[in-house]
Amino acid sequence: MNTPSALTLLVFVPWIGAGLAAVLPARHSRVVSLGLSLSTLVLGLSLLAVCPGPAPAAGLTLEEKIAWLPALRISYHLGVDGLSLLLVLLTGVIGPMSLLASWSLERGGRLLRALLLLAQGSALGVFVAQDFFLWFLFWELSLVPVYFLIKLWGGPGAERAAYQFVIYTVGGSAFLLLGFAAIYAAAGTMDFAELRLLANGTLTDKLGPAGATLVFLGVFLGFAVKVPLYPFHTWLPPAYAEAPTGVAMFLSAVMAKMGVYGFLRVLWPLFPDQLQAASGVLLWLALAGAVGGALAAVAQTDLKRMLAYASLTHVSYCLLALFAVTGFAGLRGERALAAGVAALDGAMLQMFNHGLAAAALFFLAGVLEARAGGRRTLADFGGVRAASPVLAGLCGVALFSSLGLPGLNGFVSEFLIFRGVFGLAPGTAAAGCLALLVTAVFLLTFYQRVFHGPPTPATAAFRDLSGREVATVAVAVVLMFVVGVYPQPLVGLVNGLASLWAAPLGLPFVPVS
């Protein structure tokens, strides 16, 4: 193979951009990095055009595989299916947004852009790599730029936040790695597709029952920290709050999805039985993350910390849907199948929607913080709407998308999730509604306190959004409306996978004798 294929380009163009951004003079570096960051969106859309319509249920729509380390049976294996493509598109939207959000940074701006592009390429690698060795390379490398981005450009507590973030994540990944070492020792391959063929009990047999449980726990831990699943979330609020705006956007919108992606792509196919056994507990943990995150957000006075906890709530919905489907204990039949498909569709769509909302909200919170001279407690703001109507309007759309107002994108995915979870685990779904309610409370408080009421000294002379700032969020806000009104293209992208994965629910129930 002489010409690099589309998938290779997809992953490595941002890395090339990182190199260029680091060496070019500042003025060119901005334009070049933005252009190469946009390549992801362009390539993602053209991939979408190549494989139109409802994506095939099983298998990868496009893949490339080259022998890499024949002695270890490891190959350079990239591939996309509907889920991967959805996340590639999300990354394609968020990557340029993060760069635009950091546009005016003068000092160290080249390095910042290079690191952001490095993170973008690594995230794309995670979403398209189909061999653990390659996949883990991207997974771990994504930490490096984020660590330095938080550490060097973050707020006063950034040093500690960056250290905590990396140690937690490396801690999880170390056990993930051990899990795959064990899988390799037993199965002799680390290719996701080949491993999936062994999933029907063969892998468990090879590892032994106790071994399989241990390996499951190791792999689980790696993803649970990354998402994060309650109670592994304590790194999240400081990391999101201390990170500079562009980085917080990328972190919450894209990198948090790497963990959910890992659950769907890696853990579930390999260990369906273990996941089913654990689902009862996990469902409670996801619920605790959703409700606890929302309650914690209510108690926050710092805008960014509030958004950080809101993020925890929203990704917990994805896990809620996933664990409701995996733990279907005894539920079978048409209705269960329909509920399962809805839940999974919703979970995957929620990954995309939360990405848009989180990026937009972190950006706008960053704007507020910058305008107020670095202050970002609720009490510092008031009456911003009078001075900055555009800011207020865009922030309102993002907030209402986040709390699930019908007509905006957040509603579609949360509705699908709760519809599905109600069909499978009604009690949990009912309890989860509490989170929806509390989310509405704090997001409305946010809007009310910041944009209405009497102006404070800090906000009296607020400038409205500049053209560049509007451009930064415009795509996301437009997409919120588009997906909210016409979600079919995105649903079509993932529906095939959801039907495939939920298929066991449709089987006739066979009581174990």
Partner: protein, 504 residues
């Protein structure tokens, strides 16, 4: 392949030439030393290109040496020794580049350095147990002088401690080998002959304990590792690089080449003990590195922690884990060299302090950006980040260890985590202590002399660092390059006997 013995001769001859040239001109001595080490490295690479893997050692030279004792001058190589001589050539060349600023008796310094390199080549190529020991002892003497005369912090103490541990270790090995030779009743000390000794299991246990312990001391086996941090810290930078990078591998290599094949039953008996000590070393040395106040001690302890992985791989006793252990030897040799180069040459020679608290007060990432980037990359490699050589090595070891004992594997993973913690701590304190956001103005130096910017990184330093970085990335992305040498060598009948055990 047949050129390999010339690495030894070239190094010793180079030592003499450099010694003479050094009395006239330090610059000449430097260039000659560089030519010698680069030449040696070139020879090893040529040998690597022409290497055809086959199970077992391929004889290079075999002549009678002391017929009365049956000692032969028998040099041989397989994929394992080839991996390690390539490492030696690389580390030695980089070391010379990092000794470019040694002004005090540069000729003598480089001559001793080359003698050490020659001894190391000799050990890796010996196929006769006594010859092995001769080279091994030959390497100890230059170490002492390098540290005691050109070292820093408590150099005499560090040098003496290191030498006493080394000699004690080789005395144990010698005892074990002599006993084995007497008990076996054969004539001569060829490893292949000794292995046919037909020792009873009880004998094997005792002999293995002597020989293994003797070598393992040099590999930094817990709790006999304390010489390593003190010695490495006291040593001048190029010597630290070679000591931690290559000389510690002599110990591990001795375990693999002599102790395991000669006494397989003894090995099987001691295997759990070794594994537990190795795991303890990984964890304890990692924790020690986490609390050091001296930058160089962090690296010193990290070396012990990483060598624990090598010993764990050997103790797992299957082909997978042992191939990982050899890969880790190479990887750690390169990474430790880099880390010591940054700490000793790039930072300490400029700031004259290694206390993390002092370094923290300076924005080193702005004053020495090249050093900061090198240390960050080397630190990532040391943490086992994918894309660098440490990752395939540690992964291969874990894959090999898991079927043998899950507990060991989990404990070793805890070690990986600790490595991440102490590496990040060192990066933060040493280079990014004066943070402030990048947006902030640089702190006013206020005319304080201690805060003046430092001399920039020189070209020899850059070249040396890039050589080592390239090696760790190359092996990280393409570990097959080395595994294709290592794995077939493990098929040799001698090693197979030892590696039969292990897997359930």
């Amino acid at each position: 392949m047949s050129l390999l013995p010339w690495t030894i001769y070239l190094s010793f001859a180079g030592a003499l030439v450099v010694l003479v040239a050094g009395t006239r001109s330090a610059a000449a001595a430097r260039w000659l030393a560089l030519a010698t080490t680069a030449g040696g490295w070139g020879v090893t690479l040529l040998a690597g290109l022409s290497f055809r893997s086959a199970p077992g050692l391929q004889t290079l030279v075999d002549v009678r040496w002391i017929p009365e004792l049956g000692v032969r001058y028998h040099l041989a190589a397989d994929g394992i020794s080839l991996t390690l001589v390539v490492l030696t050539g690389l580390a030695a060349t980089a070391g010379v580049l990092f000794s470019w600023n040694v002004a005090e008796r540069a000729g003598e310094f480089l001559a001793l350095y080359l003698a050490l390199v020659g001894g190391v080549y000799g050990v890796f190529l010996s196929a006769d147990a006594l010859l092995f020991l001769v080279f091994y002892e030959l390497a100890i003497v230059p170490k002492y002088f390098l540290i005691a005369r050109w070292g820093s912090t408590r150099r005499e103490y560090g040098a003496m401690k290191l030498v006493l541990y080394s000699f004690a270790g080789s005395a144990l090995v010698l005892t074990g080998i002599l006993w084995a030779q007497a008990a076996g009743g054969g004539h001569g000390f060829a490893l292949a002959d000794l292995a046919r000794g037909g020792f009873t299991p009880a004998q094997q246990r005792a002999m293995f304990a002597l020989v293994f312990l003797g070598f393992a001391v040099l590999a930094g086996l817990f709790p006999f590792h304390t010489w390593a941090p003190t010695g490495h810290v006291a040593a001048p930078t190029p010597a630290s690089m070679l000591l931690a990078g290559v000389v510690m591998k002599l110990g591990a290599y001795g375990c693999l080449r002599v102790a395991l094949p000669l006494f397989p039953a003894g090995f099987a008996f001691w295997q759990p003990v070794i594994a537990w000590l190795a795991v303890a070393g990984v964890v304890v040395a990692g924790l020690a590195a986490l609390v050091q106040e001296d930058f160089k001690f962090v690296i010193g302890y990290s070396s012990v922690s990483h060598m624990g992985f090598v010993l764990l791989g050997l103790a797992a006793a299957n082909a997978r884990a042992v191939s990982g252990a050899v890969l880790q030897m190479f990887s750690h040799g390169v990474i430790a060299g880099l880390l010591f180069a940054v700490v000793g040459r790039m930072v300490y020679d400029r700031t004259h302090t290694r206390r993390l608290a002092d370094l923290r007060a300076r924005p080193l990432h702005r004053w020495l950006p090249f050093a900061a980037v090198t240390f960050v990359v080397a630190g990532l490699a040391s943490m086992g980040m994918p894309g660098f050589s440490g990752f395939p090595a540690e992964l291969t070891i874990l894959i090999g260890v898991w079927p043998v004992s899950r507990t060991w594997a989990v404990a070793a993973v805890a070690g990986v985590l600790i490595a991440a913690a102490f590496t990040l701590r060192a990066i933060q304190l040493a280079f990014f202590g004066q943070t402030g956001a990048m947006g902030a103005n640089p702190p006013d130096d206020g005319g304080d002399r201690a805060l003046r910017p430092l001399p920039p990184i020189t070209w020899p330093e850059r070249v040396g660092a890039l050589l080592l970085l390239a090696a760790t990335v190359l092996v990280g992305l393409k570990p097959d390059l080395l595994l294709n040498w290592i794995v077939p060598s493990l098929q040799s009948p001698l090693l197979q006997t030892a590696l039969r055990g292990g897997a359930p």
